[in-house]
Amino acid sequence: MTIRTDLPYLRARSLRAAQPAPPAPAVSPSPDLADVAGSVAEQPSASLDLSAPVVPSPAQPPSASLDLSAPSAPAAPAVSASLDLGDSAPPTPPAGTPPAGTSLTLFDETPATPPGGTSLSLDAPSQAPAAPSRSPHGHTRTADHGLGLPTINAGERRPMTENEPVVELTRMQSAAGGLDAKVAVSNPSEVILGLVFETGDSRESLVLPGLSQQGPDPRRPIFRATTSGVAVNLRRITDIHRLVLFAVPTRPSKQLPGGTVTVTTYGESRLEIPLVAGPTLGAQALLTGYVVEGRLVLRAEHDPYSGTLQQICAAYGYREISWRDPYTPLV
C-alpha cells in the first residue's frame, strides 16, 4: 500500500455511503440526517450517518465544525460534520440529493424514522422545545434537545459495535471525574493511544505519549497521557469541543495488534472498542467525541482506513496542527 497525499482517507470514507441506498422511508429524511449507528446500507432504520457524503461538493469543503447556529438561508447541504442545533427551517436539498455527510442536524422537523427499527436520528422532535422560561430573578435554562441516543448506566459495560457505535453520556457522566482510555492487548508495548482535540476556544492539539504528555496547557491539562493510555479531565468539559482517540502501532512494520480499547467513566461505565489486528499506515482512528449541550457523545468509528497521523487528523477535520513529518506533530 502506498501513502497518498491527496486525502484519500476522506474520499474513501464517502464510498461507504455510495453503496446501494436503503429503501426510501415514508418520511423524507433530513438533508443532514445523520446516522451514527453504522452502515446505512445494512441498517437503514438506524439512521444518523456520520459517514462522508455520497457526492461531495467541491465548493463546500469538509468541515468538522459543530455549528450551533441557525442557518441563514436554505442551501444545499454542506459536506460538513456540523452538529446544527438551529431552530429554523432546515435547508431543503435539491431533489435527488443524497443525505449529506457527517452532519448531525438537530433541526426541528419530523424525524425521519424509517420503519422497522430504532432511529438514532439526532433530529429534534417535531415540536420545537418550549422557549426557555424565566424565574422571577431571571434564572433560565437553554432549550434542551433530546438527542435520543443510546445511553449507558453506571457500572455497565458496552461493546461499541458497528451496529451500536454510539453512546451519549449524561451531563453528570460528562462532567464527573475523568474519562480513561486504556489499551488491552497481549503486548501493550506494541501500541500507544493518543488524542487529538479541539478546545472550546478553537485550539487544536494532540496528546501523544513520548511526544506531548499533556495539553493543551501543561500547567492545567485537560488531556494527558497515562501509563496505559490517555485520559480526559472532565472537570474541564465546558472547555472541550471535540476529540478523536487514535492508536499508533509501535512496531516498525506499523502492524496493529488485535485487542480492545476500553473507555471508562467515573461511574465505572465501560465502553469497549475493538482494536483490529492488521497493517496500518501509521495511525488508526478509534473513537470520536463531541460535546453537545454539555453531553459527551462518543462514537466508535470502526474506520476501515488507516493513514499517517497527519492524514487521520486531517480526515477528521483537525487541520490547524503543524507537522514535522506525516507522523510527528509539531507540538
Binding site: 422560561s133 424565566r134 424565574s135 422571577p136 430573578h137 434564572h139 433560565t140 435554562r141 448506566n153 453506571a154 449524561t170 451531563r171 453528570m172 457522566q173 460528562s174 462532567a175 464527573a176 471525574g177 475523568g178 474519562l179 500547567r219 492545567r220 491539562p221 494527558r224 497515562t226 485520559a231 480526559v232 479531565n233 472532565l234 472537570r235 468539559i237 465546558t238 467513566t265 467515573y266 461511574g267 465505572e268 454539555g294
Partner: protein
Amino acid sequence: MSPMAKGANIALQRELPDLQGVVFGVDWDTGGERVLDDNLTLLTILVGQNGMALSPDHVVYFNQLVSADLSTAQLQQALGGDDAQVEVELTAVPDDVSRIVFAIYLSEGSGSSRNLGQLKRLVVRLLNLDGGASIISSVDLAEGLSAETALKLAELYRLGGQWKLRVLGVGYSSGLHGLAQEFGVSL
C-alpha cells in the same frame, strides 16, 4: 451575629420575614495549591421527601447551572469574595423539594490526588438575594478535615412552612461517589 458552628441552624424567615431568595456562597483558601483550586467543585442537590435528588435535572453544578424548576442557579463567576455561589429563589422552589443540600467535592479527573484536609480555610455564608446583604456565615469548616474528598457544607430545609439553614460540615472520604450514593445521583 457570630459565625454559625457545625450543626447550628437558623430560621431565615423569622429573622427576615420578607426574604424571597438567598445566595449561598463558599469561600475557600487553598494556599495557592493549583490542583485544589482547579478541582474543587460546588454541587447543589434539590432533595425530595425520600432523601434523594428529585431528578438528575435537580442537581446543579458547573455542567448544569440551573435546576429544572429554575429556582436554583449556580453563577459562572462568583461575585464578591466567594469562590463559588448559588442563588436560590426560595419562593420558586417546588413544594416537593424538602431540602437543598450544598456540598463541595474534589474532582478526580486530573490524575493528582488531593484532599480537603489541605484547605487552609473554608467558610460558607448566606446573602439576601435581594440586595446582597449578608445574613450569616459559618465558622471555618476546614478545621478538623483530613482525608475527606467531599463535604456537605450546609442545607436549606423547610420546617413549618419556613426555610431554615443548617451548617453541616460532614465529610466523605469517597468523594463524589459518596455524595452521589447518598442522594441517588446516577454516575
